[in-house]
């Protein structure tokens, strides 16, 4: 989606400069919520204020919303058809492969150190096996990330003292 945003926003409409795209991506990725929504709100707000943000967000949501609503209606009609059930059985196995790819991409993009591996393992165990509420897991990891440098620095200054 990012290359598409870049072409529309920077080249066609000239709302923002090329280098701003990197900022958009950085912000969209370090704030919660869907990246496309974050990017749309950000571009909208920069070029058209709050109203621009609202309209840009609405614009990016509307096609999805309409398409999915339509599919939902059709899906309930055909859910009992045997061929459809078989098709979804096959599709589920393919979705697993898509998730594996997402897992690999995110793993590649994250830091490779003990701190990182520890959080990955802890979150996996907490969500998959302990069935902890993901909200608390996320808050915990954010806090842990925030406090960890302080803890290290404190330990370090204790050493030198």
């Amino acid at each position: 989606m990012i290359p598409l945003i870049q072409r529309e926003v920077c080249e066609n409409k000239k709302w923002m400069k090329e280098q701003d795209i990197l900022e958009i991506v950085a912000i969209a990725e370090s704030t919660p919520g869907p990246i496309a929504i974050n990017a749309a709100t950000f571009v909208g707000s920069r070029t058209g204020g709050s109203v621009g943000a609202a309209l840009a967000t609405l614009g990016v949501v509307l096609p999805s919303f309409l398409i999915i609503s339509l599919i939902s209606l059709v899906l309930t009609e055909f859910q009992s058809v045997r061929a459809v059930q078989y098709a979804f059985m096959g599709i589920r196995a393919a979705v697993l492969a898509l998730i594996l790819k997402a897992l690999w991409m995110m793993f590649k993009a994250s830091k490779k150190n003990g701190f990182s591996y520890f959080i990955m393992a802890a979150v996996l165990v907490l969500t998959a096996f302990v069935k902890a509420d993901a909200v608390f897991v996320i808050i915990g990891c954010g806090l842990f990330g925030l406090l960890w440098p302080l803890l290290i620095r404190k330990g370090h200054s204790d050493d030198t003292a």
């Binding site: 989606m1 912000i27 990725e29 370090s30 704030t31 919660p32 919520g33 869907p34 929504i37 974050n38 709100t41 707000s45 709050s50 943000a53 609202a54 967000t57 990016v60 949501v61 999805s64 919303f65 999915i68 609503s69 939902s72 045997r82 061929a83 059930q85 078989y86 098709a87 979804f88 059985m89 096959g90 589920r92 196995a93 393919a94 979705v95 697993l96 492969a97 898509l98 998730i99 594996l100 790819k101 997402a102 995110m106 994250s110 830091k111 701190f115 990955m120 393992a121 979150v123 996996l124 969500t127 998959a128 897991v137 996320i138 990891c141 954010g142 806090l143 990330g145 925030l146 440098p149």
Partner: protein, 188 residues
Amino acid sequence: MILLELFLTFMKIGAFTFGGGYSMIAMIQYEAEQHSWLSQPELVDFVALSESTPGPLAVNMATFVGMKTGGLLGAVIATLGVVLPSFVIILIIAKCYQRFKSSKAVDSVMSGLKPAVVGMIGAAFLSVGRTVFFPSGLQADRFAQASFWVFLGIFAVSAVLVFKKVNPIKIIVLSAAVGIGAGYSLDL
């Protein structure tokens, strides 16, 4: 009441998912189980449909779950809920972008959240894997059933194609065709 529940739940999901749609699967699954909105196979089907339609996965999922549990109004409410936190947060950040960008605290929080996303997607992988390969629990005789090997084959081929950067929609269509073919010929 279902509408309020949908709104609050999807607002929670919108406010606490980082790193794109796939990290959301674990969270939606948790909520869907709590509220008994969806079965695990239904959730996986929605992921597949969301992936084969344009638009952000999170929005597609919210619309699907909303539609399934609360009709058209439910779909509107759930979609609104998942979008609202992003919208408000970005509006605030757009105003004080420079401070946000150079903030050490934001960097530190992200250093904890990025690996957390990996763990979340890992959890989604395990639970979807269970749905695909062991739909009626872990049983030893599952390995003797033809369907297990069919799904394993579809998964393996899909994985190779995905990593070769074949368009996901093509992979989904192909796996649907194999599913139908195997389903009828093996009478699954």
